[in-house]
């Protein structure tokens, strides 16, 4: 009995040993015609931000597929998708997962600012290039001088500067601000307030709301009494939708301006006609205006993705392209890829020219205003709402009625 137990134990033990050896052997190395290189994508695939997350993932995957389809590419690329759930703690794990896989040469990561800011250390410590594709908090690039961290999209600073300047251009004088209390909303509120003061806009009130709030009638009732020209909302669509809806219901006819967080399809879908005339700002040029933009749109549709790419999909696409180009050029070596990416200057992409400054931040030449027209986000300059266009922004009408303009 004892002997048999030992024999079987021995067998099990050796089997396990062999198995684990096999697993470790499966690590780096391997051969083949084309070497496989992994690029990680990190973003929210579950939770409330999964919508834009999935759009980003699809766009990223599209870039990888295109590179693999290109006979000239030196390597076969493999996409590694990791969910960060838009939670910092999970994000750190995700970044670490990417970083600790030696085959991963670059990472295109994070939609949520909170997550992106929490992982920069991880990428820095592991010498892995991190190209941010969606998070807009300035500190992600400017908060440190980690050479591994890049960002293709713009920051809140740029977005809000342009936004405030535009408001003056439209002739608005007073603003009431509502923002969510997340880093995204609060950050936007802060940078907008700063820019607004610079250009001489009067801020009537600032109100924060928690991210799972549904009812804004209290805040809006207060705002109604203030009677502002514009209501500025810093936050994402899940809050923006009910906020806009209730604004309409309370018959507040001030202009409604949002940040990039509401520029997605669900905003228009959920609001229907109530979305008409809402403005939001997004870094980069509108897809349609760029040479590759339409091509991307078509390719995306051709690839058969059910979900739309959303606002930041093109950025994920470009980030992937940059990573692939760098790898093609210097080979699958993390350090070299980081150095190579740092030299990116004036590269033509579907989001416009990409130039990284010394912090790895893309100095986006352009911030575009969009307006919701007939259930679509249309660049303001191409819409009927443009200056001298056929339609008039609700805020302008409102001001005229009030005799403020």
């Amino acid at each position: 009995m004892q002997k048999r137990t030992f024999a079987s134990l021995l067998v099990i033990f050796s089997v396990v040993l062999i198995l684990s050896l096999v697993f470790t052997a499966c690590g780096p190395g391997g051969g083949g015609a084309k070497k496989t290189v992994k690029i990680a994508w990190i973003g929210p695939l579950t939770g409330g931000n999964a919508g834009p997350g999935i759009g980003g993932r699809n766009s990223f995957e599209l870039a990888i597929k295109e590179a693999n389809a290109n006979p000239n590419s030196k390597y076969t690329y493999e996409a590694v998708f990791i969910d960060d759930e838009c939670k910092p703690e999970v994000g750190v794990q995700a970044a670490l997962k990417a970083a600790s896989d030696p085959e991963v040469i670059a990472s295109v990561s994070h939609y949520c600012s909170m997550v992106a800011i929490s992982t920069v250390d991880t990428f820095h410590n592991n010498g892995l290039a991190d190209i941010v594709w969606g998070a807009v908090l300035p500190a992600i690039t400017y908060g440190n001088d980690y050479k591994e961290v890049f960002r293709v999209n713009g920051t809140m600073i740029q977005q809000n500067k342009v936004h405030a300047e535009d408001m003056v251009k439209w002739g608005y004088k007073t603003v009431s601000i509502i923002h969510d209390t997340s880093d995204y909303g609060r950050g936007h509120m802060e940078y907008f307030s700063e820019s607004a003061k610079e250009v001489g806009l009067q801020i009537l009130s600032v109100q924060g709301v928690v991210t799972d709030q549904q009812d804004f009638t209290t805040e809006l009732t207060k705002i109604k009494a203030e009677d502002p020209d514009v209501i500025y909302f810093g936050g994402l669509a899940p809050l923006g939708i009910p906020l806009r809806k209730q604004m309409v219901k309370l018959d507040i006819r001030s202009q409604f301006d949002g940040t990039s967080g509401i520029k997605n399809n669900s905003f228009n879908e959920a609001l229907g006609p109530d979305a008409e005339g809402v403005i939001s700002y997004l870094e980069g040029a509108p897809l349609e205006e760029l040479p590759g933009g339409m091509k991307f749109k078509q390719a995306y549709e051709a690839a058969g993705y059910k979900e739309p790419p959303e606002a930041y999909g093109p950025f994920a696409y470009v980030a992937a392209q940059l990573a692939i180009e760098a790898i093609e050029k210097v080979g699958p070596d993390r350090q070299k890829v980081v150095d190579e990416l740092a030299t990116t200057k004036g590269k033509d992409t579907i989001i416009g020219e990409v130039t990284f400054d010394e912090y790895g931040q893309n100095i986006v030449p352009l911030v575009t205003a969009y307006v919701s027209e007939n259930g679509q986000w249309v660049p303001l300059s191409q819409s009927s709402y443009k200056e001298g266009g056929t339609k008039e922004l609700p805020g302008i009408t409102f001001m005229k009625e009030k005799g403020r303009r």
Binding site: L17, L45, P88, L96, A99, D183
Partner: protein, 411 residues
Amino acid sequence: MANNQHEKEAFRGTGGLLLTLGIELVLYALIMAIFLDHGGTTLIIDVILAAAAIVYFKRNHALADKISATLAANRKAAWIGVIVLLLAVPFVLQASAYWLFIVITAGLFMMACLGLNIQLGSTGMMNLAGAAFQAFGAYTAGLLALNYGLPTWLTLLAGALVTGLFSILLFIPVLKTKGHYLALVTIAFQFMVVILVENMEWTGGPQGLKNIPLMNFFGYSFNEPLNLGFITLHKYANYYYFTLLLLFALGIAAHRIYHSWVGVTAATIRDDEVAAQTNGVQVNKWKLTLFVLGNCFIGLSGAFYSHMVGFISPPNFAFDKSLVMVSIVILGGMDNVLGIILGAFLLIILPEKLRFIQDYRFMIYGIVLIVMLIFQPRGLLPFVPRSYAELIQRYRHKLLQGKKAQGGQEA
């Protein structure tokens, strides 16, 4: 007396020793293979093996008893084996810092849950604000290190103590409410803390605290790879060993508290407050003491986290984390130190491995929670009655030695 019985049934001598170490080694290999395997094959194999083992041992009690007797008989060797194997983890996971990090995270959950267990398992006080108390520890450590540059050992200590202090905020509700009401109090507190932390300036608001100094003990920085001369381990090995050390210390402390008058008193309060009172137990004093003590553990884990990752923010301490902590305690087995460790392993490490089912993960988590609680409401390792054999043996031993010494002098 009890020990003699064990020895009779156990495999004896070298055979027993080898069996003990063999079992440990096989289990260890099976677990480590889960980490090293990129896919989920090992996990599936392990689950099948575990299920088979459970079925087999349920039918074959004799062998199970014999094996556990063998383990008991070779306790010292078994512990040495466990320690050696645990020390070897960073070597095995050298290629995968990610899994090392996950293991450390699970370790921190164990730490927090040891504390939560003192409240929930031992004393029966519901605490669904575990994450909020972790936030106290994390922010205390972070703010002290950032603003005053205090050394790590001090901030860790402060994190634990300040959390304990702040838990006194809740002392009236904890003493005056029970059951569902206490649950609601702690849930409300949890939400209040997170909202406040998010809205206050000096906590960094929603952007949290960045660049918290990583651990550094008297000049030894944990941020450098661990160089052992013959091999260089990932920097997380530093954290791993430190977690291990803390866990051992706290685990032993928790175990000792359990096996003492304090444990008996807590259990009596949990099972019947009235009976406790009429037997002279100052229920309020003990509830408060144990509530504070438990929160110190939780705070320490928070402080540790902030020094390991260097970044903390309000979402780190959301309600669902409190929920996970409570699930670990209940699923693992209330009032059972080993149960906590098993629970943390199952609820932290396995879901990480289940990432390949992405979308369905949380749904399955919910369903598993329900199924386990309905079929195994006392947890995987239900608590076992205290045994005083060890303490009594210890005293007898001391008496014996005293007599010998006397005898020696006389002669």
